[in-house]
């Protein structure tokens, strides 16, 4: 099985792909809503804010960072997950068990890991996904792009056939993690406000070639099957009212108790 099929199958099976799709949908709805080109917003505004919102939504849906919950306590403090986002986004948020995805940054660049596979974020110019120039990006992206990978990248020889390349299993942890680091790339057209979302393995394209070893257009993927049993159950049952303060002072009106008078104030 190809790396692409293996990784995407794992992400889909664990519900993570649905989480990424939700995060992107919610983040870019917010970008579109807030984007105000007449008020001075430029492409750089889109890039920065899309990054900020996507980071927030990925942490939110995977219950990481500011939205972290203890394992088994997904039902606790759900108002924090709802805080500040649109109602329909909260109502459609996929509920994964806390700890399915864990924050795993690389050199300060936000990253998330599931089952040994990490991804980082990258923005690019809309419509130019295959032309991203990794040698011009941050040191972190350059490091990731330089990683050898397990698939043929179209070169004369398959990468796995390079003599002296140590197998993945023999690597120290941090190098193995680096080899298993992928990229979630996002872009929005400032004129049409269309957007793109790709996921895959990037390659060191100092040759001005394709920026990717493999990539998947996540907006083209059909929605996954509905997950069952993922809904959190309440962990704190509502307890009896013992210990609560006395009720507010409410009295039934004398007239309402009967006695032939009007039934209540205002009644004839």
């Amino acid at each position: 099985m190809s790396e692409q099929a293996k990784v995407l199958g794992m992400l889909r099976g664990s519900g993570v792909l649905d989480g990424i799709a939700w995060a992107h949908r919610s983040a870019y709805r917010q970008v579109r809503q807030d984007y105000n080109p007449a008020g001075g917003h430029k492409q750089s505004w889109i890039g920065y804010n899309a990054y900020i919102y996507l980071l927030d939504r990925l942490d939110r849906v995977f219950q990481c960072g500011d939205f972290a919950a203890q394992p088994g306590e997904e039902s606790v403090g759900r108002d924090v997950l709802a805080d500040g986002i649109a109602g329909r986004d909260f109502q459609s948020i996929p509920l994964l068990p806390a700890g399915t995805v864990v924050r795993y940054d690389l050199n300060g660049s936000p990253g998330w890991v599931v089952d040994g596979w990490r991804w980082l974020l990258a923005s690019y110019k809309f419509g130019q996904v295959e032309k991203i120039r990794w040698p011009e990006k941050s040191d972190t992206k350059q490091t990731v792009a330089r990683q050898p990978h397990s698939e043929d990248d179209g070169g004369l020889f398959p990468v796995t056939a390079i003599p002296g390349l140590p197998p993945l299993e023999g690597l120290p942890d941090h190098e193995r993690d680096l080899r298993k680091t992928l990229v979630l790339a996002h872009a929005m057209d400032p004129v049409t406000v269309d957007f793109e979302l790709f996921f895959g393995r990037i390659r060191w394209n100092s040759d001005h070639g394709d920026a990717w070893v493999w990539r998947e257009n996540l907006l083209d993927l059909p929605p996954g099957p509905p997950k069952s049993g993922a809904r959190p159950q309440p962990v704190d049952p509502i307890l009896p009212p013992s210990g609560d303060a006395a009720d507010a002072d409410v009295r039934v009106r004398r007239s309402a108790r009967g006695g032939g008078g009007p039934r209540a104030i205002g009644d004839a």
């Binding site: 960072g65 972290a68 108002d79 709802a82 409410v250 009295r251």
Partner: protein
């Protein structure tokens, strides 16, 4: 039934239709599609320029899940907010969500007004201390909180049951339905009642108390302030902090470092969250910005934003409307169904509004 619908059509009140539509969270065109009419027709029914046919009244009732009688003109008009409703996240909250939340609050006020025909509620006693939202300096929010403490005769030290305190001074406190969870807690004033709507998802005693204090701040200070702005929200936070943790009482107790053991003790004493104590320590200058920021990183990384460590008391729960219903049933044998009918409120919403606690069905993702 046809005749009854005919009667209702004759006394049809467009304002009640607007209310039912907003409660259902529908735009006019969505409702028009449901009843197979044009959006223009729906707009005309709501403005009163056109009266719906009896069959249309039936279709509207089914589409909006209310009894046809809900649309009948009433003796008193529906409550109107005397202040602008204060929603915190205006940018992310759609107009339709705000309309829904506001209508729900109006329905709660209407229900309280109807129930008050049978019972005597505590008299309204809420001070007004309008604060300028043009200036960020000064101590106006803190002074407003001190005024409330004085007027409500809150003794020195921690504030007791804040929901009950609000109710005993004539405030209405009600849980929202889950549909409005992203709106968070909100509030507005009406000629009948000041009302605070609680977030049904907030299962945290300490954070809920801070919400109530924050909303009291809006009610006391922001008579006509533009809601949702950073300054207005910050003022309500400052009000809440002073109300729950008066500066001259707590300043010397707060640690300058993130001493979690000490903060845990203060949390138990003052009935406020660790996050509120850190906020207070920073705004009072006891804690430096760097220390505060590092402490908040710890709070996030440990999952304490969702649930802080330590015992969790029961949520403060409203009593005014539930108590009234219990008393009316016990003393006059008028049950909940009859009261809901008298209020002309959909039963499910009536139950949510008059409940002591939010009953969230996590599996279905809705309140029952």
């Amino acid at each position: 039934m046809t005749e009854r619908l005919g009667d209702i059509a004759a006394f049809f009140d467009g304002g009640r239709l607007t209310l039912a539509r907003q409660l259902a969270g529908l735009r006019k065109n969505a409702l028009a599609a449901l009843i197979q009419k044009t959006p223009t027709a729906v707009a005309a029914y709501e403005s009163g320029t056109k009266r719906p046919a009896p069959a249309t009244v039936g279709a509207l009732a089914i589409a909006l899940e209310v009894a046809p009688g809900f649309f009948l003109a009433r003796k008193q008009s529906f409550p109107v907010a005397a202040t602008v409703p204060h929603f915190r996240s205006l940018r992310s909250t759609s107009q339709i969500s705000r309309d829904q939340a506001y209508s729900y609050g109006c329905l709660a006020v209407d229900i309280a007004t109807t129930i008050e025909r049978h019972v005597e509620f505590p008299k309204r006693d809420l001070p007004s201390y309008p604060v300028s939202t043009e200036e960020t300096g000064g101590r106006a929010p803190e002074e407003a909180a001190s005024l409330l403490r004085k007027q409500w005769e809150i003794p020195e030290g921690p504030v007791g049951h804040l929901v009950r305190l609000t109710e005993s001074h004539g405030g209405l406190v009600v849980f929202s339905p889950l549909d409005n969870a992203t709106v968070d807690a909100y509030s507005f004033d009406t000629p009948e009642w000041p009302i605070i709507l609680l977030n049904p998802l907030k299962d945290d005693y300490y954070r809920q108390r801070f919400d109530v204090a924050h909303e009291l701040g809006h009610l006391v200070m922001h008579v006509d302030a533009e809601p949702g702005g950073r300054i207005v929200e910050d003022q309500a936070h400052r009000f809440a902090a002073e109300l729950l943790m008066p500066a001259d009482e707590i300043a010397e107790q707060l640690p300058s470092r993130a001493d979690w053991r000490r903060l845990g003790q203060l949390k138990q004493h003052w009935n406020v969250s660790l996050q509120a104590l850190l906020f207070r320590a920073r705004t009072l200058g006891v804690m430096s910005d760097v220390t505060y920021r590092n402490a908040m990183v710890t709070v996030s990384s440990k999952g304490w934003r969702r649930r802080e460590p330590g015992p969790m008391p029961l949520l403060e729960r409203p009593s005014l409307l539930p108590r009234a219903i219990e008393l009316i049933r016990a003393e006059t044998e008028v049950d909940e169904l009859a009261l809901a009918s008298e209020c002309q409120a959909p039963l499910e919403l009536f139950r949510t509004i008059t409940s002591r606690s939010p009953t969230v069905d996590y599996r279905a993702g809705s309140t029952k």
